[in-house]
Symmetry: C2
Subunit: 613 residues, 2 copies
């Protein structure tokens, strides 16, 4: 039944041979990898506006210059990544590039930063999208956490179905957003040209509450840099493209960068030109749309498209995060199951992990994207910087045609993103950047810890040093705790006798002899040839007398072997009935688990007896 | 480590022989069993006041008459229960009495009602206590759910330590409450006598918003009947008293009933005499204390004593609930483990169950006692009525000296509590009584369901019909899924060979042959004498090919036996590392559990290999 529900939701299993067919063409790849980058303007514009409006008209007059600086940064970063795609056609995530060229720890820092960033992308996009639609329909406001979690669930299911399908599902909203926004901006440009002179900001802007200073500008610039998040997604996913993969990926990146620049500069430019100012309870993008489109259906279309593209932006993380965790798992820095391809040929464990962590963030930050944004840029710019610094080293080592230009471009990229990272780290530290600064080293530490464990285990279980002819175990001694005589017990006794000639039944006397007599008689009747030992239980617990007996009998036999425990287990027909059975077996196993952790390797055998109805 | 924490919190285990020493003397028993009954006035007074104040001065003038009627009811119920204690010296809970005399279903209804009532007592007492102290210190108000849950935790731990200790811990607050309240009431009586004429209610009462009618009076009376909850606690716990148990219990009951009557009548009488009226945000008891004691330390002492006794009242449930569930478990209506005496000679599972359910109620009803009170009286009065009707039958059957008087008293008790139950059911139905009316049959249904299951199982596993000489199993066929060659696998292969001469290793080829060649060579080197079978896994899952192979091999051998599965298991030194290992074993076991539910009884043997560090 559970399996059928699973198939209904995510589709039936796909055979491995279908793996090659699940590649994306450019149109679908743009939809799958660009929405994070494209939709960033929804929160970047808002953060720039909020950062500058406190300085009044003179602050707001800096919107466009700051947007211009960020767009230049975008150009450098995109150029830089287009080289990464060329240099690493098999998929050059920041982790891979930084690790191969800069060493283990920079690689892990880049990987950790990237993972954090993917989670934040999902959380910020979903909450910002819900906020966009909730500002158009205020009655949705109280339910925004639930709406964000609902969207998260839908996206998770789509991704569990597989990448091709999610490419299709995601393409519609992405192109809806692109066309509706480009249409609005084009219309706005025409109106701006007709109007000629910009609106005087001084007459609309609220009066300044803070003087315009360097820190304030840095602050607004840092916040606006979230516009760049997502630019790296394509370079991590080159292998998802149809061949020739790296060329298709590069073309897609260039198209995406131009679209990003146009949307970002256009929207901020028009906002400043028309002197649009947003009051509380409205985003600056919504205010711009109101100004240009009034309150008719077109306004609602734009708000809906914003929600849609932000929801889809969360999907970028679902395309990227599981790939990075799979690579980390392959390198043994993460649990192995993150590398397993699921039924539908996707890294389902990575998808589920991302979904769970995103849900936690949404709940912890109460569905408010504004609270999450400050954590955001640190991860992205750490990964940018390390990845591009790695590319510089890469070209230096390779020294192929044009390596000096290539390394100059990547070097420039590393320099500007590194500088931006420092600016962000300083100006946003207290607002939340400190969380990212704290979490990334913790992630690195955990990765090293996991790797250390796997290395240690593989040393411990290696066959190295074992003699070629292996010592075989003798037939085991079996101990069977008995509490009553019933068919389940008969089964267990029979099984014990089928695997060994040395079976001891152990009766733990829990109630001070009340039932001992009749039990001994019955035992003699049914199993006259099985040795029965009786021990006392002054504390009414089965466990301690049993453990004591096992230790004693192992010590007495002194054959280097540990007695095997056989436990009868009644299997009820349905799950809820479990609570009515087998409590002592569970208790015994729990106690032995502690002992096993401490070095005992006793085998415990459950012998099931099936109950009906 | 966990064990050490447990010992620190609840004390080290006690041997069974200490059971007899854990009995209570009368002073301690009063503290253990009476606080629910005594403290009921904290919410009963409040509910009477709130029920009547809507009818203005003429409503409030009925406070004392209604209190008088309830006190008469209390007298009848107490008299009735004193006969129960005599008739059932081994502990006559409503369940026992109703079941023995009226039959199975009335007994189960009484038991279910009682259990519900215990949970509500705990929840209402804790929330009302926190509300009392929060009206003295308003800054605590936002934390009242946490405060209630904190108190619940403390009481749970005290009860897990054992009854005698909790008797001691609880005695101080109970007697503090008794002496401070009796002092206040005595002082109030003196002042009333000196004053002579009662205050005119018309000048202080708010104007009526509802006309004074029969339904309003019934409503206030029903709400006030919560004052009686807890009166039955002693009769359920007779065995906890020092011998002569039933005499000590009866004396304690009489003392308790007189104290209850005095406190209840005294406080309501003074409230009406002095014309005390409470505004919003203050309880009527707090208003009375303010009137009599001003705002000095004595007022705070009374409020604190109210909190303390209500907290302790929750403890009455902890004395009663686990006893009733233990009796029900002994009769197989509840899971068996509720009858197990824990390390500290208490029914620890019952205590934990009560604590969990109370926490759920506190959270669901957001810590508001007023919302819980309407659910409350239905359970108590159902149990009262059934128990006393049962006693009538008891005396009729016994026909010992004075049986006619005895059955008349219990009959009167049954009649008045039954009538009250109908009044409560009607007047409080929509406010919450419907929940109790719904929950009690559900509880009865579940009890019958559990009993049915246990009966069915005991039929299925009974030895009845088995031939006296049992068929022995032949040595099992063993199947061992192998994924790689390491020391853990060596261990598993050796164990498999030690229990059987028929071992088949099964290699499931997950990656389409990439690792197959080298694996086959290595296997031949290390285990030349163990048959190895290779199967394909087109869907990259171990489970289906394994299940298919098992079915096939069982069908081929056709010996009525199911092959035994041996799985190597790496045991990490600490728990967090579990997530890094044994995922395929877990997957196999999960898949087989479904099969086992459907009737397969295959034995699965984990062979542990211990990892260090």
């Amino acid at each position: 039944m559970l399996n059928r529900l699973k198939y209904l939701l995510v589709g039936s299993p796909l055979p491995s041979r279908m793996l090659a067919e699940k590649k994306l063409n450019k149109v679908r790849a743009l939809a799958a990898f660009s929405p994070d980058a494209l939709s960033s303007l929804a929160y970047a514009n808002q953060e720039i506006f909020l950062g500058l409006v406190v300085a009044g008209a003179s602050g707001l007059s800096l919107q466009f210059p700051i947007a211009l600086a960020i767009t230049l940064l975008l150009g450098v970063v995109a150029l830089s990544y287009s080289q990464t795609i060329h240099g690493y056609p098999s998929g050059g995530g920041s982790y891979t590039v930084a690790r191969e060229n800069l060493g283990l720890y920079p690689g892990l820092v880049a990987g950790a930063a990237l993972l954090l960033d993917y989670i934040l992308t999902a959380a910020v996009s979903l909450t910002a999208g819900v906020a966009a639609i909730a500002s158009a329909f205020p009655e949705l406001w109280p339910y925004r956490i639930w709406l964000a979690l609902g969207l998260l669930l839908i996206i998770t299911l789509l991704n569990l179905r597989g990448l091709r399908e999610s490419g299709t599902a995601m393409a519609v909203p992405v192109y809806l957003f692109l066309f509706s926004f480009m249409g609005m901006l084009a219309y706005g440009l025409v109106r701006a040209v007709l109007q000629g002179t910009p609106a005087p900001l001084a007459s609309v802007a609220p009066s300044a509450v803070t003087p315009l200073g360097l820190f304030l500008v840095m602050h607004a610039f840092s916040a606006g840099c979230t516009a760049l998040t997502g630019v790296e997604a394509i370079s991590n996913g080159v292998t998802a493209f149809r061949p020739p993969a790296w060329e298709n990926a590069r073309k897609t990146l260039v198209v995406m960068a131009f679209l990003m620049g146009f949307l970002f500069l256009g929207s901020i430019g028009l906002t400043q030109f028309f002197g649009v100012v947003a009051g509380p309870g409205e985003t600056i993008l919504s205010a711009l749309a109101h100004h240009l489109l009034g309150t008719g259906p077109l306004y609602y279309l734009v708000q809906f498209a914003t929600l849609a593209v932000l929801a889809v932006a969360a999907n970028t993380s679902f395309a990227g995060f599981p790939r990075v965790t799979a690579i980390l798992a392959q390198d043994r820095f993460m649990p192995r199951q993150l590398f397993n391809l699921g039924d539908r040929l996707v890294f389902h464990n990575g998808i589920l992990l991302l979904s769970g962590l995103t849900a936690v963030l949404i709940i912890l930050f109460k569905g408010e994207s504004h609270a999450l944004v400050p954590l955001f840029a640190v991860g992205a710019f750490s990964a940018f910087t390390l990845s591009q610094a790695g590319m510089v080293v890469h070209w230096f080592r390779l020294k192929d045609r044009g390596w000096m230009l290539k390394s100059f471009i990547n070097g420039l990229g590393a320099l500007v993103t590194g500088t931006t990272l420092v600016v962000i780290g300083i100006s946003k530290f207290l607002e939340g950047a400190w969380i990212s600064v704290l979490v990334i080293p913790v992630e690195v530490f955990l990765c090293k810890k996991v790797e250390h464990h796997y290395k240690m285990v593989s040393g411990q279980i290696s066959m190295h040093g074992l003699p070629p002819s292996l010592r075989r175990f003798p037939s085991p001694r079996v101990v069977l705790p008995v509490s009553g005589i019933h068919r389940g017990m008969v089964h267990a006794v029979n099984f014990a006798r089928s695997i060994s000639n040395n079976v001891t039944a152990l009766f733990v006397d829990l109630d001070g002899g009340a039932e001992k007599g009749s039990f001994l008689r019955d035992w003699e009747t049914w199993f006259p040839d099985v040795t029965l030992v009786v021990v006392e239980a002054p504390y009414r617990s089965l466990v301690e007398p049993l453990l004591t007996f096992l230790e004693k009998t192992d010590a007495e036999h002194n054959d280097g072997q540990q007695a095997v425990l056989v436990l009868p287990e009644l299997i009820p027909a349905s799950g809820w009935q479990e609570v009515l059975h087998n409590q002592s077996a569970a208790e015994i196993k729990k106690a032995l688990l502690y002992q096993r952790r401490a070095g005992l390797q006793r085998v415990i055998i459950d012998v099931p007896y099936h109950l009906e109805g």
